[in-house]
C-alpha cells in the first residue's frame, strides 16, 4: 500500500468567507450556503488530489473528532426557540453526510463515502478502514481525511474535549491519498497495527527500525512508557486540532527513510504506522 499525495492546512480560527474565497480559486462548486466544516473539507480533498489522476471509483473516508460543531450549535438554538423551526440548509449542514456529498461532487466520484469518529483516534480509525478496504480489494484507491473546526469561540470547550496541553484548537483539514499502486508513490505503508495496551506495543517496537517518530498527544504524554528512541521524536508545530494525527503524519512524511507514527488514546490503546519514504 502506498501514499501518493498529501495535503494539510491547519490555521487559527477563520471565517467562512475566508475559506469560501480560498475554495473559489480551486472549484466552481456552489457552496454558497454551506458551512465552514464542509468548505474546509472540500478544499482539503481537492488540494490533495490537485494534479493527481484518480479513479472515479475512489473511496472517501473522512474522520472528524468533533463533527460540524458550529452548525450543530446553530441548529440547537433554532430548535429550542419558540418557533421551533430549523432552516433547511442548516439542517443539511448538521447531517454530516452532506460533507460527503460535496466532496464527491467536487471530485466527481462514485465510490464509497463515509464519515468516521472514534474518541481520540478518529483519523487513525478512518485510515484503518481505508487500509483494510484496499487490502481486501473492496476499492483500489482511497482518500483519507481529518477535518475539524477550531473550538476557540466555544466557551469552556476544553471541558468537553481531550486537549491535554490546553492548546488553542485550529481549523484543520488534512488529507492523504493511498492506493495499491507503487508508480508515482511518495511513501510505502509498511505496517499498520493496533494494540490493546502499551505492553503489546512495546513488544512490537523492539522489532522495528525507524529514523524519525511522531506521536499524538497521548503518546507524547506517556512517552516515558514507550520503548522508543526519544532523540528521534519529531517536535510538532503548534497545529493542534481534533484530528491532529493526520497533520502529524503528513509532517512526518517530509522526512526520509523509515518513519514511525504512534497514537494512543485515553485508555492507552495504540495505533502504529510505519512508512518508508520512496
Amino acid at each position: 500500500m502506498y501514499i501518493h499525495s498529501t495535503f494539510k492546512q491547519i490555521e487559527e480560527i477563520k471565517s467562512v468567507s475566508h475559506y469560501k474565497k480560498q475554495l473559489k480559486t480551486l472549484s466552481k462548486i456552489n457552496l454558497r450556503r454551506s458551512s465552514k466544516f464542509n468548505i474546509i473539507a472540500v478544499y482539503g480533498a481537492l488540494k490533495c488530489l490537485d494534479d493527481i489522476s484518480y479513479d472515479e471509483n475512489l473511496s472517501i473516508y473522512m474522520a472528524s473528532e468533533y463533527g460540524c460543531t458550529q452548525d450543530m450549535l446553530k441548529v440547537l438554538t433554532q430548535v429550542n426557540t419558540k418557533d421551533d423551526m430549523v432552516m433547511p440548509f442548516d439542517f443539511l449542514n448538521v447531517n454530516t453526510n452532506n460533507v460527503g456529498f460535496f466532496i464527491s461532487e467536487a471530485l466527481n466520484t462514485t465510490g464509497k463515502n463515509i464519515n468516521i469518529t472514534s474518541q481520540d483516534l478518529s483519523f487513525e480509525k478512518a485510515f484503518e478502514l481505508a487500509y483494510y478496504d484496499l487490502l481486501f480489494k473492496e476499492c483500489r484507491e482511497a482518500l483519507i481525511g481529518g477535518v475539524d473546526e477550531s473550538l476557540d469561540d466555544i466557551i469552556d470547550n476544553n471541558k468537553l474535549i481531550h486537549n491535554l496541553e490546553n492548546k488553542k484548537t485550529k481549523d484543520g483539514t488534512s488529507w492523504i491519498f493511498i492506493s495499491s499502486q507503487k508508480t508515482n508513490a511518495i511513501a510505502k505503508i509498511k505496517k499498520l497495527e493496533i494494540y490493546k495496551n502499551i505492553e503489546e506495543l512495546n513488544a512490537d517496537l523492539k522489532t522495528i527500525c525507524y529514523d524519525k517518530i511522531s506521536l499524538n498527544q497521548y503518546a507524547k504524554k506517556y512517552q516515558s512508557d514507550l520503548d522508543i528512541n526519544k532523540e528521534l521524536i519529531l517536535e510538532q508545530k503548534d497545529e493542534f486540532y481534533g484530528t491532529s494525527s493526520a497533520g502529524y503524519i503528513i509532517n512526518l512524511l517530509t522526512y526520509n527513510n523509515e518513519l514511525l507514527h504512534i497514537s494512543l488514546d485515553s485508555k492507552n490503546r495504540a495505533y502504529l504506522f510505519l512508512f518508508s519514504k520512496l
Binding site: S59, N113, F136, N157
Partner: protein, 382 residues
C-alpha cells in the same frame, strides 16, 4: 475467506421493546388493524416511537443502547470472555444530538451553565466499550441512512479476512427535534400520515426511532443462522437530498453485490427495498429495481419494512436486517403495507400478501440522504 454469520440480534422499535415482541406485532398487524397501529404510535406527531417512557433524553439514549446491546449478546449466548473480545461498530445519523438538545434547552432556561452536553460522539463508543468491557476501540460511522449498513459490512469484511473474530454492530436513531424539524423544513415528511412504498401517490416519509444490534461470528449457532454473503457500496452525487432519478447508481450497487456473492438474481428470494418515501427517491429506486429485473431477466419479491417502523435513518441497516431475518426464521416474508397504486412505467409491485418461507437469500438495499448507496446479501438456505 471465513464465513460470517449473524449469531445474535436485538431490536427496540415502534413494534416493541424486544425482538420477539416485534415479530409478534408484525404477525398480528393486518389490513383491518394497521391504521390503529399507526394511531397508537403517532400521538402528537406522525412518528414511529419506541413505546417506553424515560425521565430524560440522556436516560433514554443510554438505557435503550444498553438494553439492546445486552439483549443481542444474550441472544448470541456469548460468555463473558467472548463478550470482551467483541469489536464494536456503530452506525447512526444523528448520534446523541437529542441529549445536546436537552442540555441546550436547560441552558437557555437558565437551569445549567453548560450550553451543550458534549462535542463529538466518541463518548457513545466509550459507553459501549465499558458496558461490555471490551479491549477493542469502537468505530462509529455516519453516512446518513446507510450508516449501520456500512458499519455491518465493515465488520463482516474484517471477520471474513481474519482481522477480527467477532463483532457487535449497532444501529441507533432516536427522536430529536433537529432531525424532525429538518425534514419538515425540506417538506419531505408525509402529510397523509401513511407510508406508501412505491405508490405513485406517496407523499413523503415518516420518521421512526429504533436501536438494533447484531452479533457477527465465524461459527453459526443454529442451522437457521444467516450467513453474510456480500455487500457493496457506491455514491450518487446527483443531489444532496435526492437520488438521481435514473436510478443507475442504485441499480449498479445491487447488481455488483449480487456479482460479489457469486450468485444470480434468480437465487434471491426477496429484495428488501429502501423506499425512502419521498417521490423522487422512491421513483429512482423503483427504476433501479426495474433495471435490475430487466438486467437479469427475472423478477423477485420486493418487500418494504418502513410501514412497520418508519424511516429509522442511520439505524435502518441493522434494524431492517434484524426484522426481516427474524420474520424468515418465523416462517414468513411480511407483505408491504400502504401500497395501492403502481407507477405507470414500473413493472413490479411490492409484496401484497405475506409469503410463507423459513429459508431465504435476501438482498437488502439502502439509499442514504446525500448519495450513499449500500446493498447487502444474506442467506440461511444452502
Amino acid at each position: 475467506m471465513q464465513k460470517v454469520y449473524i449469531t445474535g440480534s436485538a431490536i427496540m422499535s415502534a413494534l416493541g421493546n424486544h425482538k420477539t415482541e416485534a415479530i409478534n406485532s408484525i404477525k398480528n398487524i393486518n389490513d383491518s388493524n394497521y391504521n390503529s397501529y399507526l394511531e397508537h404510535n403517532f400521538r402528537s406527531k406522525d412518528f414511529y416511537r419506541i413505546n417506553k417512557e424515560f425521565a430524560t433524553q440522556h436516560e433514554k439514549f443510554y438505557s435503550i443502547l444498553e438494553t439492546v446491546v445486552k439483549d443481542a449478546i444474550a441472544d448470541a449466548k456469548l460468555s463473558e470472555e467472548e463478550t470482551k473480545d467483541l469489536h464494536i461498530f456503530l452506525g447512526s445519523t444523528s448520534m446523541s444530538i437529542s441529549i445536546n438538545e436537552e442540555k441546550n434547552l436547560d441552558f437557555l432556561n437558565n437551569i445549567t451553565d453548560e450550553k451543550i452536553h458534549e462535542i463529538g460522539y466518541g463518548n457513545i463508543g466509550n459507553f459501549v466499550e465499558e458496558l461490555i468491557q471490551t479491549k477493542h476501540k469502537s468505530t462509529l460511522i455516519q453516512s446518513a441512512c446507510t450508516s449501520s449498513a456500512n458499519a455491518f459490512s465493515h465488520a463482516v469484511n474484517m471477520i471474513k479476512n481474519k482481522k477480527i473474530k467477532k463483532a457487535l454492530v449497532i444501529g441507533l436513531e432516536l427522536f430529536n427535534n433537529a432531525t424532525y424539524q429538518g425534514f419538515n423544513s425540506l417538506m419531505l415528511l408525509s402529510q397523509s400520515g401513511e407510508y406508501q412504498p412505491f405508490d405513485k401517490n406517496s407523499d413523503g416519509l415518516i420518521l421512526g426511532e429504533s436501536c438494533s444490534a447484531v452479533i457477527l461470528d465465524i461459527n453459526k449457532i443454529s442451522e437457521n443462522s444467516f450467513e453474510c454473503l456480500s455487500s457493496n457500496s457506491s455514491f450518487d452525487n446527483h443531489s444532496v437530498t435526492n437520488s438521481n432519478p435514473n436510478g443507475t447508481i442504485s441499480f449498479e450497487c445491487m447488481r455488483d453485490a449480487i456479482s460479489k456473492a457469486d450468485i444470480s438474481l434468480k437465487d434471491i428470494t426477496c429484495l428488501k427495498a429502501h423506499a425512502t418515501g419521498s417521490q423522487i427517491s422512491n421513483l429512482s429506486e423503483a427504476r433501479a429495481i426495474d433495471k435490475l429485473f430487466r438486467h437479469f431477466n427475472c423478477e423477485v419479491d420486493v418487500t418494504v419494512l418502513k410501514p412497520f417502523i418508519g424511516h429509522t435513518l442511520g439505524a435502518c441497516g441493522t434494524s431492517e436486517i434484524v426484522l426481516l431475518c427474524e420474520c424468515i426464521k418465523n416462517g414468513f416474508i411480511p407483505k408491504t403495507f400502504g401500497f395501492n397504486n403502481k407507477y405507470d412505467e414500473i413493472s413490479f409491485s411490492p409484496l401484497e400478501v405475506t409469503k410463507k418461507t423459513n429459508k431465504a437469500t435476501l438482498l437488502f438495499n439502502y439509499i442514504g440522504f446525500g448519495g450513499s448507496n449500500h446493498s447487502i446479501i444474506l442467506r440461511n438456505e444452502k
